[in-house]
Assembly symmetry: C3
Homo-oligomer: 337 residues x 3
């Protein structure tokens, strides 16, 4: 059974003005154009206002100044998308993990597990690990010696956290991600590659979310650092000794090479490749697929690559790209003649 | 010991015409140019026909109309590559998992596990999960509450399936893939990113194969959908609310951003990045490495990017790319003068 | 407590000339500009020599011919970066896994585990597996039937090794990587994709390191091969029937498509996409982000793509890229006129 809420309850939760029947009740959320009378909806983009006349939604979250038909039950707020985010937590059906340590978990006697924390089946918790209040460590998670997690963390199944990783409060890490594996450091020698032991750790701040199958490597000497409020999607790779600044967001499949520092409030699209030893300032935005090979100090939106075309057309243009210097010389010659 | 089959048995299995010694026996498959007398081979590309005169293969699968030396033992079929695919199953040495629930697995009493299914060591199966007949759930797999798998599925070790994921029949998911992690949804606020709980699930049809370390995120409100017959390689990311149409194939390291719908019978090369909120029609093909930033309605083959060159040459051309608008203006001026 | 070493001990370990106080003792490593008196540092790049006058490091590793202030305690070697790599092992705090088989591990009676090897909690070791002396198999690792690992391997938590995978000596594989999942092989038929069972295995040589969340697929008929001394970063995908030559290095997020052979001593940057059925010779280097769509026989450094620019500028140039063939025709016409 889903939980349900009436208009008045939601208005209180959101501290929103309401209009309509205070008793009308919703048990889930849906888009305006296919919401049913038992569902909550919201209008976050002007171009969807056309659906207000026909929506069957039981309750609609709206901007304070948005006109709407009188028969609708409304919650009026300043930022409808943010309000939707806030109420989404109410309707989440994920069960909180049970408190306590599961009988099948292997917890070293020297580890300190808060009484309200949950350690799931088959977890392996090494010496001197600290787990804070209300943190949920799901099945199959392995945490190495000396690593510390704060309060209210959610670590999903089969995540691996190596030794000497420090994680703040309210950090979520999705399944199969790996925090603290060795950075890719090797010295070249006549006999081949010689491993550089990675002696640093990983420091993750508060209110960070990391998606599934992502990797954050430990530092060579100092720590790799993910600052407060950073959000990272699935399949992202953060190499050793990177620093990701506060509230920066990194979309899926992006890779950041070693020792690169990214500022605060950056947004980095999907499948962006960022080279090593670069400095990216605050408020820099990269479009998806950008190849970042130099430092960026100026805030702004950056991109690289070419437009996509049908192969027959694209191939001719790609060949011409490979001759560009030559064509430029020919233009210069024409200008001289 | 490998299993072995004689010419007549294989002819019956493939419903193929045969030629040669019905008793000749093969125990494995190899390419024409290095197959031994105890091995089966096949000719799927005309350019390899040159090997027919010298091959030592015990049996060769051939096109009905392909000329071949009289001494060879042959299986003649319409599509030799498809016939090879069919017989490959006969020679697979992977052991089927044992039926039943392993003593170390944690299965919630409310879960429904078919009698012929296999639940491997250390699996964790939550409340209300349903597992169909003959499905193999390998070691260390974690399945969240309410998720359902059909019959004949193979879920390889350490896969994580979150709650409310519905998977059809004959679905294979390789090791360490994650199905149903949260989509990357956050609302921006003055205090940073505010999480949007991902209330949808994942729906995977029948006869789907997903490679290792891939991720398919759950939907924000509605389900993320993978339709029947889709094949997905390793390290692929499918974001929330995507829909992948029937029989489409997605090669390794590709990422599809949120809410993008891909049609049926598409082929998507490796390391393709597909932007969010796009619509890709049926029968669209993307070359490896393509950056897809617009919807595509016309079937066809698309590409983006530049040719690869030695860096000294490439750098000059890349610099000229960054000045293209300027050079175009200079061409226009020359035309005017 | 960190281990500590004095100047004389380190000189013996490195077979280095020393200068200064033989009793001065260090317990960790730090960069020249912020090392403390209890720390070891090194100078590997000329441009950091400026820090020699001010460094507080207890001991500094230096090139034999590098001038330095007389008060510093020095270790003089031929290759300071390599010497740093060698001493890094001394300061590593990772605990070696305990010898023996953990009570919670599931080991098939037919498996052969060396007496000095370690099998961690919840490992699942199938029939006929062989594990060599001093190898550490960490928690949650699953190894399929008939796979063999040599001596001195470290397999980090939750790695999955399928059946018939052969791994040499001193191989390290980081957490959640998958070795031997099925290659992406399917035959097209009127009914959709028909699976080609992947009958080959994976062969990994000696002294190989593979990062976290990487995937090396098994071969279709023959083995996928990773030769001796190869180093592979996180999130890398090696498809079926690839061969990676000795001492080649592959950085994070790179993908190599099926049946491509890469020579010895290559370096492949991050997020490089290499197409299938290509041959890359010895000593070839690809910059990060390169899209490799043809074979390369000549040693050298290769690249593809465009420079990154602010979107307003980039968009104009990208549009012009899509018209290049047309502009070339206009240049040719100007030349004719």
């Amino acid at each position: 059974m889903n939980k349900s809420f009436n208009l008045q309850e939601l208005a209180e939760f959101l501290q929103a003005e309401w209009h309509g029947d205070p008793e009308v009740r919703v048990d889930s959320i849906a888009a305006l154009d296919h919401a049913q009378p038992h569902q909550l909806s919201f209008l976050s983009k002007k171009r969807f206002a056309v659906h207000l006349d026909t929506t069957r939604a039981g309750i609609v979250i709206l901007d304070r100044n948005q006109a709407a038909p009188a028969h609708l039950n409304l919650l009026r707020v300043e930022n409808p998308y943010l309000a939707y985010a806030k109420v989404s937590a109410l309707f989440c059906r994920r069960a909180r993990a049970q408190m306590g340590v599961h009988a099948s978990a292997q917890v070293d006697p020297s580890a300190s597990i808060a009484a309200t924390a949950s350690i799931g089946p088959n977890c392996v918790i090494a010496a001197d690990v600290v787990i804070g209040e209300n943190s949920e460590i799901h099945a199959g998670v392995v945490i190495g010696a000396g690593s510390r997690l704060g309060a209210g963390c959610i670590i999903y199944p089969n995540v691996v956290i190596y030794h000497d990783v420090h994680i703040g409060d309210r950090v979520t890490i999705h399944a199969c991600s790996v925090i603290g594996a060795d950075g890719f450091g090797f010295a070249h020698s006549a006999d081949g590659w010689f491993k550089i032991y990675q002696l640093g750790g990983v420091h993750i701040g508060n209110d960070v979310e990391i998606g599934a199958s992502s990797t954050v490597d430990r530092g060579a000497l100092d720590d790799t650092v993910i600052e407060d409020g950073v959000i990272i999607d699935d399949q992202v790779h953060i190499a050793h000794n990177c620093r990701i600044g506060k509230r920066s967001a990194i979309a899926g499949c992006t890779g950041v090479a070693g020792s690169t520092h990214i500022g605060a409030d950056c947004t980095i699209g999907g499948m962006v490749g960022i080279g090593g030893h670069l400095t990216i300032g605050d408020g820099v935005h990269f479009n998806g697929g950008t190849s970042v090979t130099r430092s960026v100090t100026e805030p702004g939106l950056y991109s690289s690559g070419t437009v996509m075309q049908e192969v027959k057309t694209w191939r001719k243009n790609a060949v011409r790209f490979g001759q560009l210097e030559n064509w430029v010389e020919r233009i210069k010659k024409l200008e001289r003649d």
